[in-house]
Symmetry: D2
């Protein structure tokens, strides 16, 4: 179960960084969805290493293969199995990781929990696991698009202490993809790219914040009490490597407002009920209210840095570690598509759940 996500549109990811392959099985995908390999590959290309000069220079093609569930260009309703074979590996680069626990990585906790681990490149704890999420997310986004033109768009709003001005509109994909850092504000983007390069040049790393918006969401998705839409989004985001926080709508800053300021007054707009403000972030009582869903995710600086660090080895002896290898000085730009994938998975799942309970029967 720990490697599955979703109740009705359910994905199960598998694979280690330096194993033969990584992949995902999607169970519950609706049948008759037109689907091409290119649609999945396109999102994977936004995730893959080596895509720009601010990511790791590792060359990984990450070419996906469809092993089941799609026949003659359409899904059949049975499990979709997707796999990506591993490529450019330099296992020698990771030998030290067998013995020494990298600070703020999962080496120590995996060793303590399981007593045996594939140490190469972080093994299962590698962000390479997210390939399966992105591949499944591409399918979820296609479904949302066809179902109601629902769009999920994430972008970078902060790198280190560089904070972009608020984005006043729903940015286009082109705006987001215009720069390697995926911040739609071009001035901020330039500074952010510079900051990331700076961090790399000193063998250091930086973190940041991603904002995600979803529009055209119908009213009614999300389920009280425990499976609120924001609760499932929070879980989805905190399940991503390197994330430290999640907030929706007004978020932590909402605590600074009074109720009379924070409440979103209802109003009538044409035939729709809308709200004058959106401190709720598109969700009320755990259920979408038709406004844009807006949330933010905090990412810590990459744990791998090319500076000497104090640590202990598997025998518990204190030692020093000097990481080598090719790493991202900042994971945030590549994480944009992963955030979109997880958000899309949550929405498709809740769409199906909503319909099962509320639309399957007519009384």
């Amino acid at each position: 179960m720990p490697n599955s996500f979703g109740k009705l549109f359910r994905i199960t990811t598998w694979g280690e960084s330096h194993g033969p392959a990584v992949g995902v099985v999607i169970d519950g995908c609706p049948p008759r969805l037109p689907l091409t390999l290119a649609e999945i590959q396109s999102d994977l290309d936004r995730r893959r290493p080596g895509q720009s000069d601010i990511t790791t220079p590792r060359k990984e093609d990450d070419k996906v293969e469809i092993l089941s569930g799609v026949f003659e260009g359409m899904t059949t309703g049975v499990p979709i199995s997707l796999a990506v074979r591993s490529g450019d590996q330099r296992p020698g680069a990771y030998d030290e990781m067998r013995e020494k626990f990298r600070p703020s990585h999962a080496d120590y906790t995996y060793q303590a929990k399981y007593g045996h681990r594939d140490h190469r490149g972080g093994g299962r704890s590698s962000a390479r696991e997210t390939i399966g999420r992105v591949a499944a997310g591409a399918i979820a986004r296609k479904i949302l698009h066809l179902a109601g033109n629902i769009e999920v768009r994430a972008y970078v709003t902060q790198i280190h202490d560089l904070i972009a001005p608020p984005v006043s509109h729903f940015p286009s994909l082109a705006e987001v993809e215009a720069t390697a850092v995926r911040c739609p504000d071009l001035n901020s983007a330039a500074l952010m790219i510079e900051r990331i390069k700076q961090a790399r040049s000193t063998g250091d790393s930086v973190g940041g914040i991603i904002e995600c918006r979803i529009r055209n969401v119908p009213v009614g998705l999300g389920e009280p009490v425990f499976d609120r839409l924001e609760a499932d989004l929070a879980k989805a985001m905190l399940s991503l490597p390197a994330t430290k926080g999640f907030e929706i709508g007004s978020g932590f800053a909402g605590a600074l407002l009074k109720g009379s300021q924070h409440n979103d007054a209802f109003l009538r707009e044409a035939s729709r009920i809308r709200t004058a403000t959106n401190n709720s972030g598109g969700v009320q009582g755990g259920i979408s209210n038709g406004e844009e869903i807006v949330f933010r995710v905090a990412f810590k600086p990459t744990a791998t840095i090319l500076q000497p660090q104090k640590t202990v080895d598997v025998s518990g002896t204190e030692t020093e570690l000097l990481a080598r290898g090719r790493h991202d000085p900042c994971v945030v730009p590549r994480a944009v598509v992963i955030v979109e994938a997880m958000a899309a998975l949550v929405l498709v799942d809740h769409w199906m759940r909503h319909h099962a309970q509320n639309q399957a029967f007519k009384f």
Copy 2:
């Protein structure tokens, strides 16, 4: 499913604010746990309305009854059913809610989703639902205490824009309970209480932030990939009414640090592996590392305010609402025990899951 939480220690809550009763069924509780009614009631008393002069003056005794699962003072391993009968109700106070959607409440989204709702006092979306969580949480905390002296302690760190100084130690329950606002810093507490009274006097409301710490957590709880400990904690917290954000360890502020500052160096302390700092918040790779788990939850200001508000009615016509009734001008102090309950539920569930996979078989 939406009304259940947990995989192995699984709770299902039921009941509406003004229905005959609210309750919870706990499935999977270990057998042979000594358990008294008083232990459950004690936590419910920390949650109940009317407990101090900064909460709602509604009088609700919230006396819990054990209907199954406990025999001769010990759990038997079968479902524990707990119920609290409803008391002091003034349904007349809620008549307007049948017709007019309260801003930033769940009235509209429930109506849109289900087409039929119990409007009285918010019905199922009322925070009265959390009675079941607190009752189950009391049992979870007893288990954690007996299992390894694991302690869960939440407290208020911010009310409106009043931010208490960082709490440098693990506060005792007495320190937290010393004031009605449950902030262990007495100076801050006094100001916070004043601020809440001020808000009430103007018919307004305020929000705040709760911090929660858990100590004596063994290494190894939490499961990659999706069911990371922090992911399940995030879901648990965002499933609470009025929450807008969750962060663990360094949280959103972690984005401001460089990797060389953020990484938690490992060191040896007696026979234990520890970390020099705790930006990770006690979790690495989704798995507890033995350090204190530290997270924070943001609460918005109470949506019910005693000021006129613009809204629409069930026919979609714009109108004005002036709430009456007895409400909390700030839910944060009463939410402390609910945060503790949810955190304890997550930990017991993960303890059981960890043992199932990693301890059940000896190879």
Copy 3:
């Protein structure tokens, strides 16, 4: 989890035979279903003890109370909590059960598994647990009726070695309820009643077989691979106390046929595709094909007999047990409504699951 059944229409039962109450929480019930207390009570009355002269003379009214989820005569989509308070108890009658394990009951296995049990009347292993199933089943049957006039009808076809002639039509409820033994063949029914009385007069017990048919099932319910309709029906039936076998369509006798005899030829009937025979029992590849679903369930003779039996006590010492109390010499007639309940629960759940995957999206 072990006390829950169903994925989307999910019930959780709780309660012990001699505890304060037994009950059920139904999560996932569609909203806007008209529902009265009488509709639930009516099925409970078919299950309750003391209903005829071939059941136990225990007087249990089994009056159900609705604690949540129904408002102004309609379901609201939130959990429905139902409870039945315990009545006519003679705990003294069960004192011996604390010490001595009753043969072919669950006393020994519960004690070994949990180390602590409520021995009174079998505690959690009592068939009194099925009250919750029947109450939930009544709601499921109402849904099926409104959704598509789907009818579930069970009846007795065998008591001990008395085998009724095959039932060539779909019997009416009146035909089934015409006799206390619930066998629609009146001649057989008379003999069966006599046989049960005979068994009782010697302090012995008998078992039997129940057949269940479901008509007007739409094509398409059930899911490959593991959640085939017959697999979930089999689990539902084997989860009932005293059941030893399940077969669908041709069942065990199907092994005696050749493929050329067993295959159900497809034919066209008006606008429908039908089969000439129904050895499949209405399910092919795990999915309903629109024909009647027909299955049978084997029940062992009641374990409680009023004759001396060899057994061991809780200390492991061999001893003799002579049960007293008021018991059913045959559980089969009262189990008819329980079989119907479980079948209805499976169908509603699969209807919702089918809709979620196959109807929620239009491509």
Copy 4:
């Protein structure tokens, strides 16, 4: 979900008969289990086509590959992904299946449910799906062996109307594998093989019954109320293609006994509590009692026969079908290892569940 089985030791199978590959992901496998490819392949070889002169002559090597979860000869606790590439395919042989529904196959119901299907060789409904089950089952059996020398042994007891004498002992694997039909009684086996050949020579098919025994099962596995051990075994068996019935212990014949004959008297044997007879089939109240678990599964005759059959085509027009291709005249001998696999999966899962609730905490 429908393609997953198990709660804690959870498998998800994927793949269609004529797709690029079939496979399974196992989530929840305990870490540190020594595991070789050969151990998995060995069970797959017992399942594969072409293994003897009474199975289909299709040549399928079914060579399994381990894609994740095993490192340096031991499991790591993360998902184990196993895949078998497809081999000897003659898709032309299946062209007719695109248009005509094969009687008593899943062609029609899949088409009706999903609206789009991979018709080649039955697609997802092909028994080729069971490759994943057998591969996972091999791992489950290894675990059971190491955990407590628990052995699962299935064998054929009936082919068509040929019924072997009762097997009075727990047969060895060698006894079962001694003949191609996997009936440990050699005389019966010879007749059965002859009967299968006869069926094939007339283009017909036969079914049969498999019995399965499990020994050295500890007391306490299985969970009331819904997840009784026999309920999960029943679901596991009815989830297999071509199965029509399941019975445990006395089974359907148990209905012919009186309680005084059927009850299993408890007795003391050395330090163990045992039963004098085993009509319970090793399970009481849903929980294993330490006796041998004994159950039987009925298989219908293979639906594919090489005789003309009446059917309808996808447009609903009546037509005739004459199947070609290479098929098993009887699936029962090859199903023996599949029954063992499913039984082992159920036991490992319940072992883990039992441990989680009853052993994880010491009070």
